[in-house]
Amino acid sequence: MSEFRYAVNVLPKPGILDPQGRAVELSLPHLNVTNVSGVRVGRRAELTVTAGSEAGARAVVDGLARELLSNPLIETYAIELLEGTSSAVSTKAPSL
């Protein structure tokens, strides 16, 4: 078994009103920023899955992303495998 660490990035679907994104965008002139548009604000979750394969781990993350972390009616998600964080897990009991 190995550990795989993922990030799930959730954003409001295109066309869905995103009042947070709009509020951020409207605040930009206060920072003297005038060349930024299309701001969307979402959320990100990071999690570690222990599984026999990356495909198996990804299936778990995909299910969670669809059922819990996002609402498919109003949001989209993208799954990102975080590099350098997967590692073999010992199946032996740890010695204390």
Binding site: I16, L17, L68, N71, L73, I74
Partner: protein, 249 residues
């Protein structure tokens, strides 16, 4: 007759709902979130609050709680389920009623008395209403009703929009930017029901205006509707929900 009110960790209007049921003359029963057993109640209210802290999205963690397994089975068997505020959000996240509740267009938590109007008086949730605008409070940060255009058209065509926010003259506040539309809900929708008509959700709080001592008892029209319908369902021997074809007829 007994009607249940679910208490999730973070529910804050469960006691108000229990009280309103007592005022309506039925025995209120608390249903704890950790048990799928509904104790044989004749209807269920999912109350307002912030179930499980409303983390991720309002209502989504509650969706996976044991009591919701019981509520889903109860609804599938034809039992009446009313979700108020956070309860509406739980029902929407559970897929028991269509649509989603987004962050208020203003980005502000909205706490005030609004006017809503039942779109029809022949539903189990509005039958005791007099048809005039009902003034009851809202208290929510995520109450902006959203569904895609096709779903909205379908809801309107099948009479499943139960409540809309209205102006003082009774005209619906269809525009999300209408001052009488407190959260930017599409087409001014304040409450909807499922296809079979036995599960409904609304954002305003009828149970918080259930006695004159609370300022008004206008909300009792909706509580009494639920009670009458639950009595009728029991008297009829707990019939199964209408099929899709029957619901359209």
């Amino acid at each position: 007759m007994r009607i249940g009110v679910v208490t999730f960790p973070g529910s804050n209007s469960d006691i108000d709902a229990l009280n309103a049921l007592a005022v309506a003359g039925v025995e209120p029963v608390t249903l704890w979130h950790e048990s799928p057993d509904l104790s044989g109640v004749s209807a269920v209210i999912l109350p307002g609050g912030f179930a499980y802290g409303d983390y991720i999205r309002a209502g989504v963690i509650a969706r996976f709680s044991p009591v919701m397994r019981g509520v889903k089975d109860f609804a599938a068997a034809g039992g009446l389920v009313l979700g108020i505020c956070n309860g509406f959000q739980v029902l929407a996240e559970s897929g028991l009623v269509p649509g989603a509740l987004l962050r208020n267009r203003s980005l502000r938590f909205a706490s005030k008395i609004v006017a809503i109007k039942p779109e029809r008086l022949d539903s189990p949730f509005t039958r005791a209403a007099n048809g005039a605008p009902i003034h009851i409070p809202i208290a929510h940060g995520e109450g902006c009703y959203y569904a895609d255009e096709a779903t909205l058209d379908g809801l309107e065509a099948s009479g499943r929009v139960l409540f809309r926010y209205v102006r003082e003259d009774g005209c619906p506040a269809l525009d999300p930017d209408d001052p009488a539309n407190p959260n930017g809900s599409l087409r001014g929708i304040a409450g909807v029901c499922n296809e079979a008509g036995n599960v409904a959700g609304l954002m305003p709080h009828p149970e918080r205006m259930s006695e004159e001592i609370l300022g008004s008892d206008e909300g009792m029209q909706l509580i009494r509707s639920l009670v009458e319908s639950a009595k009728e369902w029991e008297a009829a021997g707990r019939p199964a929900p209408r099929t899709k074809a029957e619901a359209r007829a």
